[in-house]
């Protein structure tokens, strides 16, 4: 077989040579929020590695971090470290790592038609606890899902896994910037998720058929769970992981999260005082964002001009996908109409965060 034929066979007839991986940051290179968050016991949060959401519902306490423990060819992984165990899960307890897609990025799948395309998920996993694990694709439009299992064979050993999912003929994915599909990696699942039969074909959502057989990675504080090299691609063949540069991945991640920090004397946008206690800062994003972002702040931020004042609040107005107006309350002393520099007075730990995650 010629090299070209080998390549064609490897890639598959329905798959592009580039941009095969639908997952952003699958090699876990980008962690804008920071490299570690400890003491997570509840909520849907984005703790460390960009684009990978963590859901913890009363199933132990965890530290979520970007780790340098990775298989050959990778430099990073997402690590889940159980720090408080829950060996006896209540019925609704669960832990999931989720990846959420915009519907407009999945139109090539032809879901909702007889020609719906299959998807193949591949990833590297390393876990202390061996046994059965569940991965679910959940489609918001139609409330449909499909679940498949994989097995961690050896404790604390990197293993490569591939799972192929059929296409969903039941419902189409809305072509917009809202959530169209979720990949759910279960780490723990109470009895409400395991009371039925695993839904290995697309069907309307039934909680009891979602994670049947899932082992409990929360049952010991000795447990760690690592994952990296996550790739989801069209077709029934797992191709080699599509590595992208850090810059490419960062730019893609910034559609969902951008922030100004105090690192390296980074400056936030200039502002103009509207009164002695309010400054208006027109903010252009580094990348167009998925939706109007929410804004949160940390650290001490100040405005410097004919005087220096401390920011006391930050409110987003006129938010769009390319820019917004941040109206900042301050201690008194500014002069209306004057320009002020906006800077962080607490070093790299401070941030102005713009969040448009799904």
């Amino acid at each position: 077989m010629s090299k070209a034929a080998e390549l064609a066979a490897l890639i598959g007839s329905q798959t592009a040579l580039s941009n095969r991986n639908l997952i952003i940051n699958g090699a876990m290179q980008v962690a804008q929020r920071g490299t570690s968050t400890a003491s997570i016991s509840s909520g849907d949060t984005y703790p460390s590695v960009d684009r990978f959401m963590l859901r913890v519902s009363s199933a132990g306490t965890w530290t979520n971090s970007q780790s340098t423990d990775a298989p050959a060819g990778f430099s990073s992984s997402l690590k889940m470290d159980c720090t408080t165990a829950d060996a006896s899960l209540a019925a609704d307890d669960n832990v999931q790592i989720q990846y959420r897609f915009e519907g407009q990025d999945l139109q090539q799948l032809n879901f909702g038609s007889a020609s719906a395309k299959s998807l193949t998920l591949s990833f590297w996993v390393k876990a202390t606890k061996t046994g059965t694990n569940i991965v679910v694709l959940y489609q918001d439009d139609g409330n449909d899902f499909i679940a498949k299992s994989y097995t961690v064979d050896s404790a604390d050993t990197w293993e490569y896994k591939t799972i192929t999912f059929s296409g969903n003929t039941l419902a189409s994915i809305t072509n917009d910037n809202t959530r169209g599909l979720i990949v759910q990696f279960f780490l723990a699942a109470g009895s409400n998720f395991q009371s039925g039969t695993l839904a290995t074909s697309w069907a309307g959502y039934v909680q009891g058929n979602e994670a049947v057989g899932q082992v409990n990675h929360a049952d010991s504080t000795s447990n760690n769970f690592y994952i990296t090299g996550v790739q989801l691609e069209v077709g029934e063949t797992a191709t080699p992981f599509e590595h992208r540069s850090y810059g490419d991945e960062l730019a893609r991640c910034q559609r969902y999260l951008q922030q100004f920090t105090g690192a390296g004397s980074t400056r936030a946008p200039m502002g103009v005082a509207a009164s002695s206690t309010q400054v208006n800062c027109t903010t252009m994003y580094t990348q167009p964002m998925r939706a109007a972002p929410s804004v949160s702040t940390s650290g001490t931020w100040k405005f410097n001009g004919n005087t220096t004042v401390t920011m006391t609040s930050c409110t987003i107005y006129q938010a769009a996908q390319t820019s917004c107006l941040l109206l900042c309350g301050t201690t008194s002393g500014m002069t209306a109409g004057y320009a002020y520099e906006w800077f962080c007075d607490t070093g790299s730990s401070g941030f102005i965060r713009l969040d448009a995650e799904l």
């Binding site: 909520g43 917009d176 929410s294 987003i316 107005y317 309350g329």
Partner: protein
């Protein structure tokens, strides 16, 4: 998403009630009025379900 407090915010030069301040998972967040924003969508879902009330601006 654990939302414990939501309030309209008024600022100089902007229409009343055109921004929201919320405490979500223990963090104070300024939320735009965009249905595609996940925080705003969840706030409105809880408001419509009668589980949450948006307080008036100060």
């Amino acid at each position: 998403m654990n939302i414990t407090y939501v309030q309209f915010i008024n600022c100089i030069g902007q229409p009343d009630n055109s921004a929201i301040k919320a405490t979500i998972d223990g963090t104070e967040i300024s939320v735009p009025l965009d249905p595609a924003n996940r925080h705003y969508a969840e706030i409105m879902r809880q408001v419509e379900a009668g589980e949450l009330t948006i307080a008036d601006a100060d």
